[in-house]
């Protein structure tokens, strides 16, 4: 046991397949490059398509094209397959798909990119996974019909058993697997109607098991024969590069195996992480920061505010906002500031990679197969088909692992390429590396200006949004007429009926590496629009819920969700002294979420958030308990930027480094959460992100009700205990 890094291959494979996090080593997933029937899979298995496999011992293996990072993708996708297959849920397991865009592309992105994001897993795969299950079912039925010489129309399937009642015969899936594999692929399969669902809509137990016993394997846990651990020193300033370095002390550190300069920085390779870290500490590096950004958050903020005076790109327009603003009486005007935010998933970024013959193999919580494959291929000068990616469980991500330029994967590739021996190398970022590793939620400044009509409702509404463009980093994002939806989404599609409206986008220079962060544009647009609306309601002397109801007459989904949250929260009922409520409603990723936050006076001008009532319309509820979990988790995640988290820069360097100075929500600040799901038979929409942006404005609106002062700068530290 004590020998370093020596776990035999079988043990390794067993570890990896534990809890459904299995790898595809040695076997092709579908045994074919298209969705055509491939006949029998390995060892008498039945593999009708790229998404499902039935084994002779009755197991149904669902191949997940989406990474499991806590959001429940494995369970949701398996439910869709199992529903149409009429499988026995206890016999269903999930494996991660390999990188292969042709088979596993995300249909929400036209199928041309493989990856997970934008809360698209259920939405893009709803039809595809059910068809995969229905196809498998039809072929099992055909096999039974052939075996028993009965009409297929008389064959039924229930919980993994195929039956012909008239002749009193039945067979388990596994018994029919081999024969099913010889059946012709059916043409169009008929899918169930929502009222026929038996698994969809149930809170089935999750399939990403092994997480309460320490058995689940994350990238961090991978142990391969002869594997080395790498850490990398990079310039503390964005754009800085190595000028020179002295590794003599590093090479003296016990356990250090090699020190290598790579384009990204200086890598230390060692037997284990601790030695690598000690080695890195001993490095003396001089950085060339001549091309680096050396400014500060304060100077950036100043320039952002100055941007507000310039004309922006028109992101939405209705009526004549300028005329409306100058025509009417009192103008309400508000500025907002949002800092950079780190994703800070619990598992710091990491990646395992090894040269394999003329290709490369990697093991990690991959969220961005297409981009990562291209990046690795470019580093090695090989074809992307020669980059094999094994998708493992990810210890969170919140968008970070889908890096638009595959930063951490590229670093790993550079190190693996530079180190001659073809051993596996695990790049491990420390928490400090992760916190300072850029690709933040961008910093933004907003300005909202409105006038009210004689009836008290908005007559004109003008919204300026200033910040870096994510599409500038992620070039595959379309920017029609120069509009980057990741900047303005949530603001340029306001659900409220406002006759004169203008939304302007101001793109600032790309000085800091940025990317999407759970709920993307809505992280800031939901805040400014929903808190501003409460300020307007107050100016009109109206109740915030009533005010919204009036403005949502053309937005029935928003209205229904708002009404459900308000009703369940007892909106309008008398509150005890010192208790206040705030509400917000927002659509993101095609789902609508409303939340009512309830706070109580905690003395000394501070408040305690004691309860959140959340309503969501996400189409058909595939797994209600996972939806509830995502609402609870999204609320907790959204509270961190409201209350405490911010990344700030000084002299081009990130001031925060770990959880002591980049604070995040802890259990003592987590409110009670009650979730209500709007019944729906519409195709499912996202649940991973849509709860996150709603809580900050709901809470701020409650504070506004309590104090008469609206926080306009996030985080609003010191107000909530």
């Amino acid at each position: 046991m004590s020998a370093f890094g020596k776990v035999n291959r079988r043990q390794f494979l067993r570890n990896l397949s534990y809890g459904g996090a299995g790898l595809m080593l040695g076997t092709s997933v579908a045994g074919c490059s298209t969705l055509r029937n491939s006949g029998a899979g390995p060892a008498g298995e039945f593999e009708p398509n790229a998404f499902v496999r039935v084994t002779p011992d009755d197991r149904v293996i669902v191949i997940s094209k989406h990474v499991e990072m806590g959001q429940g993708a494995y369970t949701g996708l398996a439910t869709l397959v199992a529903e149409e297959l009429d499988a026995d849920w206890s016999r269903v397991a999930v494996e991660g798909a390999p990188a292969d865009t042709a088979r596993y592309g995300n249909l929400a992105w036209g199928g041309v990119r493989q990856g997970t994001g934008g809360s698209t897993a259920m939405r893009n795969a709803y039809q595809q996974m059910r068809e995969a299950g229905a196809t498998a079912r039809a072929m099992l039925v055909a096999a039974a019909a052939q075996l028993w010489q009965v009409p297929a129309s008389e064959v039924t399937v229930t919980a993994g058993v195929v039956s012909h009642h008239a002749s009193n015969r039945s067979a388990r899936f596994g018994e029919l697997a081999e024969l099913a594999a010889t059946q012709p692929l059916p043409g169009k399969v008929k899918l169930k109607q929502p009222q026929q669902f038996t698994l969809i809509g149930q809170s089935l137990p999750r399939k990403d098991s092994g997480k309460t016993t320490g058995q689940a394997q994350f990238t961090q846990d991978i142990q391969l024969p002869d594997m080395l651990t790498a850490v990398i020193a990079v310039s503390p300033k964005a754009g800085g590069v190595v000028h020179s370095f002295d590794a003599s002390a590093t090479r003296q550190v016990e356990g250090v195996v090699e020190v290598l300069q790579v384009p990204a920085g200086v890598a230390v390779l060692a037997r284990d992480y601790w030695s690598a870290q000690q080695g890195r500490k001993a490095l003396k590096i001089e950085w060339d920061n001549s091309g680096a950004f050396t400014g500060s958050s304060a100077s950036l903020l100043q320039s952002y505010h100055a941007e507000l005076e310039k004309p922006g790109v028109v992101a939405a327009k209705a009526g004549d906002a300028e005329a409306g603003l100058s025509a009417a009486g009192a103008v309400i005007d508000a500025h907002y500031e949002f800092p950079y935010l780190a994703h800070a998933a619990m598992e710091p970024l990491n990646c395992v990679m090894q040269k394999r013959g003329d290709g490369v193999e990697a093991w990690y919580g991959c969220q961005w197969q297409s981009g990562d494959q291209e990046t690795v291929a470019r580093v090695f000068g090989i074809d992307k088909q020669q980059v094999k990616i094994n998708m493992l469980l990810a210890g969170g991500s919140f968008g970070r692992r889908a890096n638009p330029v595959s930063d951490y994967v590229e670093q790993t590739a550079q190190i693996v390429k530079a180190y001659e021996p073809a051993v596996p190398i695990k790049l491990v970022w420390s928490r400090e590396d992760d916190m300072r590793g850029w690709y933040y939620r961008p910093m933004y400044v907003h300005r909202l200006t409105a006038t009210l009509g004689a009836d008290g409702y908005p007559l004109a509404w003008r919204h300026h949004i200033v910040g870096q463009s994510i599409a500038a980093v992620a070039s595959f994002i379309d920017t029609p007429n120069g509009v980057d939806r990741t900047t303005v989404e949530g603001a340029n599609n306001l659900p409220y009926g406002i006759p004169n409206l203008a939304v302007y986008q101001h793109t600032t220079p790309p000085v800091i590496p940025i990317q999407w962060w759970r709920s993307v544009g809505s992280t800031h647009t939901a805040y400014s629009t929903e808190t501003f609306l409460d300020e307007l309601a107050q100016a009109a002397g109206a109740d915030p819920v009533e005010y919204r109801r009036h403005l949502l007459q053309e937005s029935p989904r928003h209205l229904a969700v708002l009404n459900l949250a308000a009703e369940k929260a007892g909106w309008g009922s008398a509150l005890p002294a010192g208790v206040f409520r705030g509400v917000a409603v927002h659509e993101s990723f095609h789902s609508v979420v409303a939340q009512v936050a309830e706070i109580e006076d905690a003395g000394n001008g501070k408040y305690r958030l004691r309860k959140v009532v959340c309503a969501v319309d996400c189409g058909v509820a595939i797994n209600p308990d996972i939806i509830r979990a995502q609402m609870e988790g999204g609320i907790g995640f959204g509270l961190s930027p409201a209350l405490m988290s911010e990344i700030t820069l000084r002299d081009g360097e990130v001031e925060q480094s770990n959880f002591h100075d980049y604070q995040v929500l802890r259990i003592n600040q987590m409110p009670e959460v009650e979730v209500h799901i709007v019944p729906s038979a519409e195709p499912p929409t996202g649940v991973g992100e849509p709860a996150t942006p709603v809580i900050a404005p709901a809470l701020a609106n409650a504070l506004f009700a309590a104090t008469g002062k609206m926080p306009r700068k996030l985080p609003f530290k010191g107000l909530v205990v």
Binding site: S2, P205, G214, M346, R431, I635, G636, N668
Partner: protein, 158 residues
């Protein structure tokens, strides 16, 4: 500066001998030297609780505990949990579907077990207090609270 020492201790009920740099944190000795990867690395500075293990029954952060400290003592990791309290906690965790990404959960469970071992019926405030050193970025906190109470209820019934 580095000093390699022989450390003898009890690990998950079995005696263990390990040669290591005395300053190497217990976390890395467990993970990289003994291949016990259930204990997670989250911050390396006693801020997140992902690395929580039991030292003579008390929850400690293994990322800041030099391995030499465990000399002659008893360490329990998530892999070695077997007490009645531990089983109740793990069962409640599963029944209430606490886990999302799962990366923090070994540490959460180790902290929860240590809490219930000394306080079989903790209040909300006591739960918040003893669990606030364990960050969950997926924010499974609502269910962590509920699962600890559920486990306490199971244990009270016997």
């Amino acid at each position: 500066m580095e000093k390699t020492v022989d450390i003898e201790f009890t690990l998950n009920g079995k005696s263990q001998v390990l040669q290591a740099d005395e300053s190497m944190p217990l976390l890395w000795a467990l993970r990289d030297r003994l291949q016990l990867t259930g204990t997670k690395f989250g911050c390396g500075m006693a801020q997140c609780g992902a690395c929580t293990v039991h030292l003579d029954g008390t929850a400690i952060r293994s990322c800041v505990t030099p391995v030499a400290v465990v000399q002659g003592r008893s360490v329990t990791t998530i892999e070695g949990l077997e007490s009645g309290v531990a089983q109740a906690v793990q069962q409640s965790w599963d029944e209430l579907a606490v886990v999302q990404c799962g990366y923090c959960q070994s540490g959460q469970i180790m902290s929860a077990v240590a809490l219930l071992e000394i306080n079989p019926n903790p209040s909300d405030e006591q739960i918040d207090q003893s669990m606030s050193g364990n960050i969950c970025r997926c924010s499974t906190y609502v269910r962590i609270r509920a699962a600890i109470k559920d486990a306490a209820g199971k244990l009270a019934k016997g």
